[in-house]
Assembly symmetry: C2
Homo-oligomer: 193 residues x 2
DNA sequence: GACTGATGTCAACGGTTGTTGGCAAACGCT
DNA sequence: AGCGTTTGCCAACAACCGTTGACATCAGTC
């Protein structure tokens, strides 16, 4: 989604657009939606605030562009089912620390309705889709995906946002050994109730 | 924490103070820290914005007062250990829906450092203390409490903030049957790694 | 009834925000 | 070279924010 749109040749301002988007992701990730000001983002990108408006229309539009995100969930079809949980935790940890878009989305979702909506889309669409392909009853896929999201987002919230000391100190392997069984049960455990 | 402080007799303005605090909790819970304006809070409490400043000093001071919170965790000493998880989930669900202070704290913690700090205090102090009394190895109590917090806060975040449809639709009993085993393992399961 | 302090209202300040329109420079094309 | 378009900067607007100080009103005390 970064290349030139449609069939138009690359525009000269593509570098500026990218710089704005990069600065926006950083600011949104560290400050949240309301505290990240267009002026600060523009200063980081070393351009004028009015350029942000010209290229993204409004602050909401800028956030929508900056929050575009693909979880890049791995295909788990030819993986032994008992390893689903482990692979998912590892994937999310890596994805989370390698791209600040998720942090921006998480911070903003607390106060901005549009961000919450996008978070719902991402986790409902992308995660539910993968869960549904794991062979479980399709009727319970959405529920299982929601439970997985609750633990994954709780992990991210306590580790990266609130930064609870115990959750920050735990290493990736320790986190996996604790949390993977949880996801495993949410994904493949017997349906409850 | 609502009665008159120290040994002074009740002041005539106690009703106003309480009205401000109530309105503040509502606004902080629904809008987060930055979008909840002093003017809006004052309007809800039907008083002048300057009164908020007089009684609470600043917006930060008002939030600090509004975010004062006791988890009221139950004493679990004479309860069969295998029911810890269930009781904790039920307690948190009730606590969460009966007092919007927790929602205010959760929303604000995403963007406001002071709120994040208070959230750390609450979950580190109160929750870790209870976990430590459950007979587990004191050295791992903080870690276990952190893991419990990650699942509890993730539940709250997906259900009350982002409002993921599957998490909103689940009834209390279903949530308990899914999530209680997770807490149970975090609390009393064998130490990992 | 006059005095003192608490309580409440009103108007305004300085600062910041998202957003807009005008104008200069650089570019691409013929 | 000349021209239209793109890219960028500058200044400013209107709105809103937290915060402050002056002034009225009321309760309780001597």
């Amino acid at each position: 989604m970064t290349g030139p749109a449609h069939s138009t040749r690359p525009r000269r301002s593509d570098a500026t657009r990218a710089a704005i988007l990069l600065a926006a992701r950083e600011r949104f990730a560290t400050d949240g939606y309301e505290r990240a000001t267009i002026r600060a983002i523009a200063a980081d990108a070393r351009i004028d605030p009015s350029m942000v408006m010209r290229y993204y229309g409004s602050k909401e539009g800028l956030f929508a562009a900056a929050a575009e995100f693909d979880l890049r969930l791995p295909v788990l079809t030819d993986v032994p089912p008992e390893r689903f949980g482990e692979l998912l935790v590892r994937h999310f940890l890596a994805r989370w620390e390698g791209d600040e878009t998720l942090a921006a989305l998480l911070r903003a979702a607390s106060t901005n309705p549009g961000a919450a909506e996008k978070m719902r889309e991402i986790f409902a669409d992308q995660l539910t889709t993968v869960v549904a392909t794991l062979g479980a009853d399709p009727a319970t896929a959405a529920r299982r995906a929601g439970l997985v999201a609750s633990q994954i987002l709780g992990l991210a919230f306590t580790r990266y946002i609130v930064q609870l000391p115990p959750m920050v100190d735990l290493g990736p392997d320790e986190l996996v050994s604790w949390i993977a069984p949880t996801l495993q049960r949410y994904l493949t455990g017997p349906p409850q109730s």
